[in-house]
């Protein structure tokens, strides 16, 4: 693929084009300054935020995340992290839409269990249905289950986001063949959400044909988050280009790279 074509290789989410296929979370950083520097280094254009009770003067002068990551510069993707039922997830999305002046894009996650943070798939399907009916553009966190991914797409979710491994685990892609099946079946963007640990994990997701990767802890919990953010950016780009280039078939035995013909000994 030529360099010229690469600039046309865009991720399209809810009708908007993005040059970066890395989406990042904004939690677990040391402070707002580190958050801003790491996200700057990641090159991400879509950033996810959580919705929580507001500061009613307990922490005066505390900067707001939206002052640091302005909605004019970034596409803000509010998430429903911490929701364990469909009803609270839907409420959270409605509050987020109001907070962001009618912005409809949300990341739906309905969790099933505190130990694994695996999604409650039944509740996720229910919430997704309600949100789509209510006019939201739903990017949905789900299991690496192709059947559930297909259902979420059929409901009208605009992106399906299977986990690579449990949230915050950094275990990498535990079930690459399922991710591949999800990618092959889907007509909407598929993004790996959660579980990557390092740049090669991000590259692997992209090599499988994913449209993007969403991560938080892999960057924020690195010893040097800003450097890791830059590594992730490159891992995503390398993986995407390798996918587009089409890798050679793997073979069991060797195949010499230098010609046999013309040997003089």
């Amino acid at each position: 693929m030529s360099t010229e074509n690469q600039s046309h290789d865009r991720l399209i989410i809810a009708g908007k084009e993005y040059g970066s296929r890395l989406l990042v979370g904004t939690g677990k950083y040391k402070d707002m300054d580190e958050t801003a520097r790491a996200i700057g280094a990641s090159g991400a254009e879509i950033v996810t935020i959580a919705v929580r009770r507001t500061n009613l003067g307990q922490n005066p002068g505390e900067p707001n995340i939206l002052d640091v990551l302005s909605p004019e510069r970034y596409t803000i993707l509010p998430n429903t992290a911490g929701c364990y039922d469909a009803e609270t997830a839907v409420r959270t999305c409605r509050l987020a839409r109001e907070l962001l002046d009618g912005h409809n894009l949300v990341k739906l996650e309905v969790l099933g269990d505190e130990k694994t943070l695996f999604p409650d798939v039944m509740a996720t399907l229910k919430a997704a249905e309600e949100l789509v009916k209510d006019g939201f553009d739903v990017m949905v966190y789900t299991n690496d289950d192709p059947i559930v991914a297909r259902e979420l797409e059929a409901i009208g979710c605009i992106a399906v986001m299977p986990l690579a491994a449990p949230i915050g685990s950094g275990l990498g892609i535990r079930n690459p063949l399922n991710i591949l099946t999800i990618v092959e079946n889907a007509k909407v963007p598929v993004l790996v959400d959660a579980g990557v640990g390092t740049a090669s994990d991000a590259a692997e997701a992209m090599e499988l044909g994913c449209d993007g990767v969403l991560m938080n802890t892999a960057i924020a919990a690195a010893k040097d988050p800003v450097l890791m953010a830059s590594a992730m950016r490159k891992g995503i780009e390398a993986g995407r280009e390798a996918f587009l280039a089409g890798r050679m078939p793997a073979k069991r035995f060797a195949s010499a790279s230098s010609p046999i013909e013309g040997l003089f000994f």
């Binding site: 979370g25 507001t54 409605r94 509050l95």
Partner: protein, 66 residues
């Protein structure tokens, strides 16, 4: 009358409107959203929305998260 504001009991005057509560809390001009008894109250209705005793008011903002 008493309401519950972000999980804490709070005394407000009878008939307080949402716009007045927001002003009392010095939140005017900040980015937040409000629900009362699990129903969203849009900004456009703050001036008219009257609080009732025992209302559960949640005022939320964006925070860092993944």
């Amino acid at each position: 009358m008493q309401i519950t504001l972000n999980g804490e009991p709070r005394e407000v005057a009878e008939g307080t409107r949402m716009a007045e509560l927001v002003e009392t809390l010095s939140l005017t001009g900040q980015r937040f959203a409000v629900e009362v008894n699990a129903e969203l109250v849009p900004r456009s209705r703050f001036a008219e929305h009257q609080l009732s005793p025992n209302d559960k008011v949640e005022i939320i903002q964006a925070v860092g998260g993944g």
